[in-house]
Amino acid sequence: MLMSISFKYITKRLRQYALTTLVAALAISMTIAVTLAADSLKDSVVYASMPFDMIVGAKGSAAQLALNAVFLRDTPVGNVDQAVYERYMNDGRARRIIPLAFGDSYRGSWIVGSSEALFTLRPSEREPEIFQIQEGRFFQDKYELVVGSEAARRLGLAVGDTVKASHGMSDILDEELAASRVHNNHIYTVVGALKPMRRPYDLGMFASIETFWDIHGGGERGVSAFIVTPWDYVGLMSMYQELNTGSEAQGVFPGEVAGDLFGVIGRGEEALRLVSYAVAALGFATVILSLYWSVLNRRKENAIFRALGAGRSTLLRMVVTESAMVMLVSAPLGLLFGHLVSGFIGLYLRRVMAVYVPASFSVQELYILAAYAAIGAVGAALPAASAYRQDVAGLLAGE
């Protein structure tokens, strides 16, 4: 029955309450969206890094090397010491060595030079290879190109098409500018299209490393980096130690540098998180103020209820009921918005980076809702405290 009074009060001020509820929902959704997005970004980086136990490249930025090898992003690093590459190729300490050559692209998609060993790349020995042919075959000869599913989709490439590669990695889609960098004599033929891997390599194109040596010529047989799949963990660690104490090259665990992998994105995420907290704080403040204001607004009505014999606890119950009603509506709404927004962020990441962002429910959401409920309780307690100080007789004296 008391609830019905609260309910009538709310329906009477539906617009104000709708606004409060919306602001609260927005505050919840912002926090949840950023939390989810940050989590799934990390998850997706770890997921994308799985097939790459260790990347070996020239000394320099570890993040750049990992971005190159795993995400086909950033400026390509310089070639790794050829002696190091050959030593690892031949000494049998690794289960697999997969060479990678960067430096060419076609309309924004990286062309990666590699060996046939590339097609044996897998997240773990128990899992199937990530390269699976959808149509055609893997490359065998020079100038044969295998295209990732996203690259094929975006560039409208199919088996049998020809491609003029350009030197440089800029994401230039400007035909003219790109044309100026085209290796005019070197035309690739698409011989295979890959099934979607749900990994950044979906954006890439792959050719034999001999093609690269042919194009860049001069008898130089350089390799930008190579992927090392170890026999076991101990072997991996010893190789890692050896490489990083030496002066010839560096070894990188991409899963581990995932943190700084997205140096810029990471900082952006931090900023976004701060913004979301600020928005949430503003939202919560709005909710508290709105509840507080609504009580101030009806000090007189509360005084009347008191005159009719309502105790302070009864008034408190009515206020709490109201904020509970606001919460009851805004919490699920906020969850829904939050997941929608993070879904869109995931979609965006997938489109731009071909990183697979799994839809997820985070425990942090529960913390956010709990924090929100606590703040709602404070929002209810504040006006209750004001009702406590109310001068009933004084308010009844007025019109």
């Binding site: 009074i5 209820f305 005159a307 014999g309 309502a310 105790g311 009933v392 007789a393």
Partner: protein, 233 residues
């Protein structure tokens, strides 16, 4: 006859917000009102009529003295108990009606029943509210909002609301000050009827001498001695 209200050496003082000096708002050495009595409280503005009624209903606690109402020592009772006491024992009517603007006439009456903590079902409350509103001639206005009612009608809703919990005491503070003569008459008649039919103790405060013509007993706050003299009878 039973004594319904007894005040002994009751004082209410306020500290003036400006000078900080103590201001005496009410001083009643002895006051006794019997059950079923129809008592008028008279006095110029500022003589303490409202303060006296608030002390009797437990809205205010006295600065000193004893307040006995329907067998309860209100001056020693804690606030929650006084609230409940008021809900069950005292119906209040005010000059400015004080209806809840977002509730209908009927809802205003049932709201008062909620605070008495009785075991009435929702339906019983509704039926009682209907009955009370019909008895004050508002059977056709049950679902009107206060804003849709005339001043006289609003005050009649207030009479029904004050009777909601069937209290032994009815307190009216300048109930007719904002009404035209016809509505003033209607309200006074309703209050007399409640006093006669239900043997309610009626206390009506007003600065309007005419309004007290139907009262057998008049307490004059401007004239303490008169009050003391009356209390003896």
């Amino acid at each position: 006859m039973d004594e319904m209200i007894r005040l002994t050496n009751v004082r209410k003082v306020y500290r003036s917000s400006g000078s900080g000096a103590m201001v005496e708002a009410l001083r009643v050495d002895r006051l006794s009102i019997l059950a079923g009595e129809r008592a008028g409280i008279r006095g110029r503005s500022g003589s303490g009529k409202t303060t006296l009624l608030h002390v009797i209903s437990g809205i205010l606690t006295p600065s000193g003295g004893e307040v006995m109402v329907n067998g309860a020592r209100l001056d020693t009772l804690g606030e929650p108990k006084r609230d409940l006491f008021r809900a069950r024992n005292v119906g209040c009517i005010f000059q400015f009606f004080h209806l809840i603007p977002y509730l209908t006439a009927k809802e205003n009456v049932t709201a008062a029943m909620l605070f008495a903590g009785g075991a009435m079902s929702r339906r019983m409350m509704g039926e009682r509210a209907d009955f009370l509103l019909e008895s004050v001639g508002l059977g056709g206005r049950l679902h009107h909002m206060p804003g849709q009612l005339s001043g006289g009608e609003q005050q009649r809703v207030c009479v029904a609301r004050a009777l909601a919990n069937d209290p032994p005491i009815l307190i009216a503070d300048e109930p007719t000050a904002n009404l035209d003569p016809r509505n003033k008459d209607i309200i006074l008649r309703l209050l007399y009827r409640a006093n006669e039919e239900n043997r309610l103790t009626l206390l009506l405060a007003t600065h309007d001498r005419d309004a007290l013509s139907g009262f057998t007993r008049v307490i004059d706050l401007d004239d303490m001695s008169a009050m003391e003299g009356e209390a003896a009878c």
